[in-house]
């Protein structure tokens, strides 16, 4: 299986979810992208359908929004 992508923005909700997702899925199966630090990747995340962080894009391209930390609009600003 190719990797899932975990998008976050360093917020407390994101960090909490990241710990759980690493535990469940395994860090070796994840690409972890901090959109606050890599703003050029926000449009890629949007193309997957990501609306808020934290979010997990599965290897087959589906988006799981996990809890709610911040909208992508907030991350952009």
């Amino acid at each position: 299986m190719s990797k899932a992508i975990f998008y976050h923005a360093g917020c407390p909700v994101c960090v909490g979810a990241e710990i759980e997702i690493i535990d469940l899925v395994g860090v070796e199966n994840l690409d972890i992208v901090h959109l606050g630090e890599k703003k050029e990747q926000i449009s890629i995340a949007e193309d997957f359908g990501v609306k808020s962080v934290p979010a997990l894009v599965t290897p087959n391209g589906h988006v799981l929004h996990i809890n709610f930390g911040a909208s992508l609009e907030d991350v952009k600003s």
Copy 2:
């Protein structure tokens, strides 16, 4: 690791998330509970902090609300 519990209520959003979570975590690591069919378990889910389905309760007791299908209030009615 003990099992994570995936709570759902048979809604389309739930089914979509279930497929992804099984793919990511492995069905052998999951207890899957249909709260629409097992309403007596709704209060157990609430005690974990579940507010809506689909939701995943991790082996260490944290709740990940995944996308949004229905509130537990809706499932009760």
